[in-house]
Symmetry: C2
Subunit: 453 residues, 2 copies
């Protein structure tokens, strides 16, 4: 019998996260203070983050040690399996070897716990007693709910109101772990009250929820804010994914020709790809690294590289990134985790330097891919992860046409069991694609202030 | 760092299932033909099952070899982790060592795939092209949907109408894997039409769904019926759970004082416990084996040992079992997988011989346990599995009172991510217990025909 899963032992959980900034020739441009437009220093971030996280955000150290307490808790589900997708390969009749890293086996159902745990840990160590965050579809909110519970932190999650009402299962998951979940916009913050005064029926947005969460953190004693993607320290924590996958592919006697992650703000993409990109940068490897984003929110493929706000309202520092503009309103697609206007600063610089490839995929193709994956490998993928699967299928078909046995690795960032209403729409032919015209793109990026030197 | 998870390699997947009947001094009484009331022979079962399954149902062989193709597919998720529940132990301040076997990591979310795969395999080998089955909450229907897809079998699932409407997520899961899901009672069978003619608004029951599925199998060419619990061949297939757990506890240097499974028809309970009960029977071990059932459906604790039908309508053979009567209507609790009137024949004989312990648990205690487990170990358990957790917590508290470091093993039969509406009710104080009075029990069992010699 051929081996299907490649499993590591708990002692193989990485002891340090990998910071790719150390190996980049062109470092990311610095974030700018929104008032002075001067480069940020860690102290600027300490209003909302504990010192260690502020330092991790700006560090150029190559390896950051994972605290023993965090490694101990990683054992709840890590190391995660690397799986040879033999069923999918057979269905595609491809000579390619397709592997996926299954991050959906975490108790919260996605990779998000990789960063939620250290964030909760560092906050608790710093004497913080309360955290705030925002969540859209709910994957990040779910992860931080469990992590906060483990470290005895109270957590308030501002959940976009439309999701709060339409995705009750993820709300209940967060509440089961003990979080306080508030539909945003809410009456508990100035930002929320301002929005509601103008429009009592406002159904919320990620931008509003971020504003509420940051405001609550700044105004409440012993309270900090926590974010689940985009920022450098989040990408750092997620590198456990790729570091494990590297060891597991080695067990399989393989090295990847192609590494693929779906792309929202960058957390799971960075996690699976940076440890392999490292070998491109320092060892002369030539692995193709592909970020797969939705055609309805194509910041990497069609956005502009510019300084922009991380939130819709404009409360964050200016971040140098590929962006569609901070007030871009993505279509209401089902991969809620990918509906974000900008890319993290590291990924944006890598894109600018052509060190990664980018690809945008229509929604229906991603659900075709998700269903085929479910029917051949069992796991029903999250709509976000289905973007990576669709990209892997494109490459496997190319390999078939070329008759070449390429090795493809993608990250299965999470399962889709709390997203079945999306599959219901898909199966009933009620789903559509959302494509943006060139003039729509031009319109959304034209308002960006020109700050890149 | 202490080890938390005990992981086996794929080569450690068992090569044979264990049949406890071989080691029982008092064998289970034979099932009786419903017409002649004579003991069944395999041929009697071949109207609805392929020959190999009919033979497995009645065999007294000790070890049944697992087909290579089935072992290969078990690799999709097996071996499953054995986990030391250190977080739960700490929260309970108990000297007990608590371990759980995590069957929730299967792609369908429960242990049910352990039997769905071999059943689909044997049917395909026998030239069957279509399967029928029934499902209540949907765990079994989901498992058989994926298994049927893997073997290219068409599957029709009769899903109890109230669940079909109230649990759309599991319906969509089955449809994503490619099954045809029909709300029962339906217009596609005589049984369904009969019911609907009397009551067009009938919301269905497991009994009606079984009748429809059997009728459809009997009347359609190349079509057989498949069941996910109660019967001996299902218990047999599920023993991979306990066989793996035995090896894993050995890695941990432990042997269990107590083994616990939740109890509906017996599939996961048999799977986790029979391999350990074997050592009680043949090696003089004294492990306590506990079946944890809902207080609202207490066939093992308060039912009568008698011959009864396996379905509500009375189409199956007479099975010798602890039962509340085949027309018993359990309260509408959230552990849908435990709402069954009878226990499998093997478990019933073991109970009769006092070789296992039985325990009934009120619904609210199970959700208290489920929440504590989620908050300490991460995974939100299925409401069914929460019965096993509640029982383990009772034993861990006793160990604390006695100051004894007992080793407790329970089976986490599945996760609860598709059952969050139940947790929502629980968290909002809208859930209640359902207890049966002695007179209610007496009334439900008094109609049983007396066939036990």
């Amino acid at each position: 019998m051929a081996t299907k899963k490649f499993l590591l032992n708990e002692k193989d959980i990485p002891t340090a996260w990998y910071n790719i900034v150390a190996d980049m020739v062109n470092k990311p441009l610095p974030p700018l203070h929104p008032g002075t437009k001067q480069p940020l220093v860690p102290a600027d971030l300490e209003a909302i983050f504990p010192r260690v996280i502020a330092e991790q955000e700006l560090t150029t150290e190559r390896w950051i040690e994972i605290p023993e307490e965090v490694r101990e808790l990683y054992k709840i589900w890590r190391p995660t399996p690397l799986v040879r997708a033999t069923g999918l390969e057979k269905a595609l009749d491809t000579p390619a070897h397709i592997y996926f890293k299954n991050e959906g086996v975490s108790p919260v159902g996605s990779h998000k716990l990789n960063s939620a745990l250290p964030q909760a840990y560092y906050n608790q160590k710093a004497g913080v007693t309360h955290l705030t965050t925002e969540t859209g579809a709910g994957q990040w909110g779910a992860a931080l709910s469990f992590a906060s519970r483990l470290f005895g932190l109270a957590l308030e999650v501002f959940m976009v109101k439309v999701s709060y009402n339409q995705k009750p299962y993820r709300r209940v998951m967060m509440q089961t772990w003990g979080a306080d979940v508030v539909a945003s916009p809410s009456n508990t913050t100035d930002a929320g009250r301002l929005i509601l005064a103008k429009d009592p029926n406002n159904s919320g947005s990620l931008g509003i929820a971020i504003s509420e969460a940051i405001e609550k953190a700044v105004k409440t004693p012993n309270t900090k804010y926590s974010l689940g993607s985009v920022l450098n320290h989040v990408a750092l924590h997620q590198t456990v994914i790729g570091l494990e996958a590297e060891k597991q592919l080695d067990m399989a006697g393989e090295y990847p020709d192609i590494v693929i992650g779906c792309f929202g703000g960058g957390s799971n993409f960075s996690g699976i790809s940076f440890p392999f990109l490292r070998h491109n940068l320092i060892d002369g490897k030539k692995t193709r690294i592909i970020a797969a984003e939705p055609a309805s929110c194509p910041k990497l493929t069609r956005g502009r590289f510019e300084y922009d706000f991380g939130d819709t309202v404009g409360m964050t520092p200016f971040l140098p990134m590929y962006t569609l503009g901070h007030d871009f309103q993505p279509a209401d697609i089902h991969a809620g985790g990918l509906r974000y206007h900008g890319a993290g600063t590291i990924v944006s610089q890598l894109r600018r330097d052509n060190l990664i490839e980018v690809e945008d995929i229509p929604q229906l193709e991603t659900f075709d891919a998700g269903r085929l994956f479910a029917q051949t490998e069992g796991t029903i993928p999250a709509p976000e992860s289905a973007h990576a699967i669709a990209s892997a299928i494109r490459e496997a078909k190319k390999a078939r046409e070329e008759g070449r046995a390429k090795t493809i690795l993608f990250n299965l960032s999470g399962h889709g069991l709390v997203d079945m209403s999306a599959y219901d729409q898909y199966l009933h032919g009620e789903m559509q694609n959302y494509e943006l015209s060139d003039s729509e793109i031009e319109k959304t990026v034209s308002s960006l202030e020109k700050l890149v030197p």
